[in-house]
Amino acid sequence: MLRMLVRRLFLGFATVWIVSVIIFAGVEALPGDACTAFLERDAQGKLLENCRNDLGLNKPAVTRYLDWASGAVRGDFGVSPDGQKSIASLVGDRVKNSFLLAAGALAVGVPLAIFLGVITGLWRDKWVDILFSTGAIFAMTIPEFVSATVLILIFAIWLDWVPAIVLTPADAPALDFFPEFILASVVLTMVMIAHIMRMVRSSVIEVMASDYVQMAMLKGVPYWRIVFRHALPNALLPAINVVALTVAWLLGGVVVVEVVFNYPGLGRTMIDAISDRDLPVVQALAMIVAATYVGVNLIADMLTILLNPRLRTLSQRRK
């Protein structure tokens, strides 16, 4: 198990490293650099030279990559070209905000999706199944900006229960976003619920038709005990990876929802940084998103191995 973990961690780090090279090379390949972007029309002659010297942009690309990478490992992504703000603290606030939004959506969405998946699977083709399955597809197909607008209309404007958009500054403490982020979370929940629910539903149907569930019935095990002890532990295993992908997607920033609700999260910051040609921020965000995907999937794989006895033995045998 430990060896497996070390292997996977090593592979994870290798992936992140390769991504970092690609991101750095990609930004390098763009015409211009941080100084030309920052100085705009003044980017010529002495001024440009000075700026590049200040930021160390004259050094060879490999040296700059190593400087950047070693800083990134320590969580230091440098400072913005005007030398005023640390990129780490700017990005850090956005990461915190995205986490908050994701946590809100996940805390409700995942249990609800699993619950709906289980009941639609158990009562396959009954009215509960038809109702919720259709509902889930519907929720998934409506674009986020439409459902967001409708929810704002209903809950913020007509009912006036929650604020329509977020006005709290990005660096405010997490609690200040309450109750502003609720609507955004609800929209995200609606989008993600269908994926997980459908996965769980088909998995429950498959497991309930399996030989071991039939055997449990013929062993005289009561129905609900079969569901909870024999079926669900097996049916929910495949859901772990779908949940992981959803988590990574949420943490990576959800641009549309953030824009609609004016929410200061990762996605919107990324878009802003790209249009401002704020290259160090783009690099930093891309690295964080890549690391999140790798990290979340790593955790999901480890969980699957931990919860699935078959995989556990396999990993032991490979020792």
Partner: protein, 671 residues
């Protein structure tokens, strides 16, 4: 006489077909079982035997419903009971041992927990007594080290061990009656023989009633006192085992018996032509009429009732008195046997194969320890036109060797050559089309080896296009011609595998292999997924091809009787090492390797008077020992440390028969 514990009367079960009509899968079946009785239900797939067994627990598979009749357990109707009452009976007074225990045990629960659940639901013991009781039960089914099994997960056990756990679990409720749904199908002969002995003993000790469902008449002969033969959802013959298996009074039962290959019979088994009618498609008369040799007008017009046929048996046949004139074995065609001194067609020289793969990271981090190869030291030459049988228990490396020959697995060492020493590239993708064409493989399960989205025409076209460059009209004509050689007509060309029966699918797979005009055909357990009557037809077909094309076969099977029927020479494998090789009659003769004797003695014949002799303990070995004889740990005739340390020598008995054993030839039998 005591009241029957299970009393099934006039039971009919069916489902609603696509047209809205009710199609019966079980028709007017009567069955009574008393305590201490064991009854066998025999039939081919689709005959309704499993449906009947499950119905006696009050359980129907999805989509099925009771059309008429009743199922009583201890005098009360099972289908009229409440769910909670059924739950109390199932697993309690009425236990089930399922067909595939590997899939019937919940993969995420430890064995101990699953057993404890059975106890919790069906016995009055206190919670603290569970552990001791479970260990006791696991010991009763002769599982080695019950404490270790207790904390294992199902996948960590071998097939035989899983089956024993399932038996122990059924016994946990102290059942009065036990239903066994093909409990030993898919197990090795040795494991099967041990489990059957165990069941016999348990049934006797506890005075249980048993309903034993199987397609294997050998198993039924060993365990049951009475037999019921089912065909197309009907009981067509029932009576005492000896009567039914030795001189059955129904044409179908006789055909079934004739289609079983036997160790003592050198003829090929005789296939039953045709196939059973689909549910609801039997017409007004006898369901078997279309396939029956004794059919008269009355059989077509009117459905026979079960009638007394003498010696305590009842047959659903108007002509049961004449049925005894039909053969029930021993009349098949003689298999074509070739000399083994012809030109070599395939030679394996010191081949070894290892499954342990060393991944990129393993190599990066210094690599894993050197392991013992799964298959080692295999040197065999197969002559042109010869059939070599490879036998052994599961895990003996039979299929692994075939895969290496086919180029699907890279050998770790040694050389595989075709013809006169033309070494083949190890992997299939490195072989040229002309090399590929020479070796073709037929797989065990046609459901997996035929692409479900390709029509028969497309399946057959692939080798013809690749090797012969055929297209258009010529391709179609050749495909039809090949289909006809496997006794399927041109009207099969547009069908998908899903629209074919098991036997037809395997015929298509055989046709695909022979479309390439191969010199060597590798058969990997090609009949083990089929019914016996279909199996007999496949063996006939292979024999016909041998006559027509002089094909060389390497035939892998765990069924020793099937291998005997077809092979010229047999090689016995244990743990990936050769134990014995030689002409079939010599290997199946008296002078043989201790392991061959164990295998042969465990074979069950469809004859209640022949009992298997069990020698070695059923220990499951995961890997061969690093030195000495591979069979040392199970051998009852182990000669001390010599067997542990030294690789046994090949001892020639003459006629190309060699045994690899430390025991001198004169002590290996031969009387």
């Amino acid at each position: 006489m005591a009241r029957p514990i299970i009393d099934i009367r006039d039971l009919s079960i069916g489902f609603t077909g696509r047209t809205g009509k009710t199609l019966p899968v079980l028709r007017n079946v009567d069955l009574t079982v008393r305590r201490g009785e064991s009854i066998g239900i025999v039939g081919e797939s689709g005959s309704g035997k499993s449906t009947l067994a499950l119905a006696s627990m009050g359980f129907l598979k999805q989509g099925l419903r009771v059309i008429g009749g009743s199922v009583c357990f201890n005098g009360e109707d099972m289908f009229a009971r409440k769910r909670s009452e059924l739950e109390a009976i199932r697993g309690g007074q009425l236990g089930l041992i399922p067909q595939n225990s590997g899939q019937s045990l919940t993969p995420t629960m430890r064995i101990g927990a699953q057993m404890a659940e059975a106890l919790e639901l069906h016995c009055t013991l206190g919670k603290d007594a569970y552990h001791a009781r479970i260990i006791d039960l696991l010991g009763q089914v002769r599982l080695p080290d019950p404490e270790a099994i207790f904390i294992r997960y199902p996948h960590e056990l071998s097939g035989g061990q899983q089956q024993r756990v399932a038996i122990a679990m059924a016994l946990a409720g102290e059942p009065d009656a036990l239903l066994l749904d093909e409990p030993t199908t898919g197990l090795d002969v040795t494991t099967q023989a041990h489990i059957l002995e165990l069941l016999r003993d348990l049934a006797r000790d506890r005075n249980m009633a048993m309903i034993y469902v199987s397609h294997d008449l050998g198993v039924i002969a060993r365990v049951c006192e009475r037999v019921m033969v089912m065909y197309a959802g009907e009981a067509v013959l029932q009576g005492p085992t000896a009567e039914v298996l030795k001189d059955p009074a129904h044409p179908y039962a006789r055909g079934l018996l004739a289609s079983i290959p036997r160790l003592c019979d050198t003829h090929l088994p005789v296939a039953l032509d045709g196939r059973p009618p689909p549910p609801g498609g039997g017409g007004a008369g006898c369901a078997f009429a279309a396939r029956c040799a004794l059919v008269v007008d009355q059989c077509q017009a009117e459905r026979p009732a079960l009638m007394g046929a003498g010696n305590g048996s009842q047959a659903r046949c108007f002509r049961h008195a004449d049925a005894h004139t039909l053969a029930a074995g021993g009349t098949g065609a003689d298999p074509l046997h070739h000399r083994s001194d012809g030109q070599p067609a395939l030679s394996l020289d010191d081949v070894s194969i290892s499954y342990a793969s060393h991944g990129f990271l393993d190599r990066l981090f210094g690599g894993a320890a050197k392991d013992i190869p799964t298959v080692d030291d295999i040197s065999i030459t197969v002559a042109s036109g010869e059939t070599l049988g490879l036998v052994g228990e599961s895990g003996s490396g039979k299929s692994t060797i075939l895969k290496a020959v086919a180029g699907l697995l890279p050998p770790a060492g040694g050389q595989i050559a075709v013809g006169e020493g033309n070494a083949l590239p190890t992997m299939v993708e490195q072989r040229r089309p002309q090399q590929l064409r020479r070796i073709q493989m037929i797989f065990q399960n046609p459901d997996d080896s035929l692409n479900p989205r390709h029509t028969v025409a497309e399946i057959l076209a692939q080798p013809l296009r690749l090797y012969d460059g055929l297209s258009g009209q010529a391709l179609t004509e050749r495909s039809v011609e090949i289909l006809e050689t496997v006794r399927l007509g041109a009207h099969y060309m547009d069908r998908l595998p899903g629209q074919l029966s098991g036997g037809e699918k395997q015929r298509v797979a055989i046709a695909r292999a022979f479309a390439a005009e191969p010199e060597i055909v590798l058969c990997d357990e090609i009949t083990s997924a089929l019914d016996v009557s279909v199996q007999a037809a496949m063996l006939e077909l292979l024999n016909d091809f041998k006559k027509m094309k002089d094909t060389t076969y390497v035939f892998v099977s765990h069924d020793l009787a099937v291998v005997r029927a077809l092979s010229d020479r047999v090689a016995v494998l244990y743990q990936g090492r050769l134990c014995e090789i030689g002409p079939t009659e010599k290997v199946y003769g008296n002078q043989s390797h201790p392991y061959t004797s164990v295998l042969l003695n465990a074979v069950l014949e469809p004859d209640p008077d022949v009992a298997p002799t069990l020698m070695a303990e059923d220990v499951v070995e995961l890997s061969p020992p690093s030195t000495g004889c591979p069979f040392q740990r199970r051998c009852t005739r182990k000669q001390g440390v010599t067997c542990e340390n030294e690789t046994p020598p090949w001892r020639e008995t003459g006629g190309g028969h060699a045994i690899r054993c430390h025991i001198p030839l004169e002590d290996l039998g031969g009387d």
